[in-house]
Amino acid sequence: MNRPEFDELAELWQDELDPLEQARMEANARAARRRGRLYDYLEYFLGIALVAIFVAGSFITASPLTIAVGVPLMIGITWLTWRRRALRQMARTLNTSDRAAFIESSLHYARANLRRNTIGLVSIPLLVPMALAFKVSLRTGGGPHEVWQALLQWSQTPRAAITILLLTILGGFTVLSRRKIRREIRRLEQLRRGYELEAERESEA
């Protein structure tokens, strides 16, 4: 491609946006700024609200069993919230120095996402019975025998069937998300190979 051909294509490429598209772009930009500000506050607010609910619950019926279930639950939620925030931060601070570093940090992020997904798959079956026990202990006053009986009764109700169905659907979504992340990792690895090939050609030349 000679210089005049290139200039002609560059001029064609750089054709002005029409005013409607320009206005839409500016609206997009303003919406992005609002979203950016909102994200900064929302995550902390959610974490604090969840912990406040469980702290309040623990003090209303402060039996040993309630506290024994409530405290690990609080720790679990705090840890999960913190972890999610750290992962999102990682996405924001993707290495900007060069493409190899960018692809590496994207891969790192995708793999961290896959780990988060695994944590989700493992923690749902553990956290849900704990949350149920916590709720029942609040209602019954906290004895292990009463809680166990109440859980047995609950398991025979339509509500239990609905909960299990919802958990199964949630598990299904998690598995689908897992496939998507694996696909992303595969594409990133292919892209890394593409950049390596370009670099090899450049060093040969």
Partner: protein
């Protein structure tokens, strides 16, 4: 924070001077208009989030282009399925009723955009930056390679683009 002003002021400058650039970079990666709209929103959000790290070492245009390219690469690797070939609108250049010359120009632009979308990503980002008027030094800063490597990559991208366009004509 950059020496040139607050985050809000800098973002205002991005809106006023880089929207065309961002829109065209997104176009080189996403043919589907609805998905492209989402991609542009993501790019804008990423620029907003990244502005706190902008120190003014490079121009704001270079900074915005660099983030836009990276967001586009993430978009391509994250999408649910391989893209189908979406027919680009015939009025890609202008919304006005097209006389013959505009029809021809629109057709040429459509062919150019479709050919760029078929380039391998490393070459695609180099040629798009060259079309946007960035020098080899600026391209090398954005891509994190040497100016010489940027020049070689642009040359290879031009050759590949020309052959794709010839095949499609």
């Amino acid at each position: 924070m950059a020496a040139n002003g607050s985050k809000d002021e800098l973002f205002g400058q991005v809106i006023s001077s880089c929207t065309g650039l961002i829109s065209r970079i997104a176009l080189s990666y996403e043919a589907d208009p609805a998905l492209r709209h989402e991609l542009i929103q993501d790019i804008m959000l990423a620029i907003w989030l990244a502005l706190k790290n902008y120190r003014g070492e490079a121009s704001l245009k270079t900074f915005a282009a660099s983030i836009a390219q990276k967001r586009c690469i993430s978009h391509v690797t994250k999408r649910a399925r391989e893209p189908r070939q979406v027919e680009l609108p015939v009025d890609l250049v202008s919304a006005l009723p097209p006389p013959d010359e505009i029809v021809l120009r629109n057709d040429q632009k459509k062919r150019l955009v479709e050919s760029i979308q078929l380039l391998p990503i490393p070459q695609r980002e180099a040629i798009v930056l060259a079309f946007e008027g960035f020098s080899y030094v600026e391209i090398s800063e954005i891509l994190g390679i040497t100016p010489n490597a940027a020049m070689l990559r642009c040359q290879r991208a031009k050759t590949t683009l020309k052959s794709i366009m010839e095949q499609r004509s």
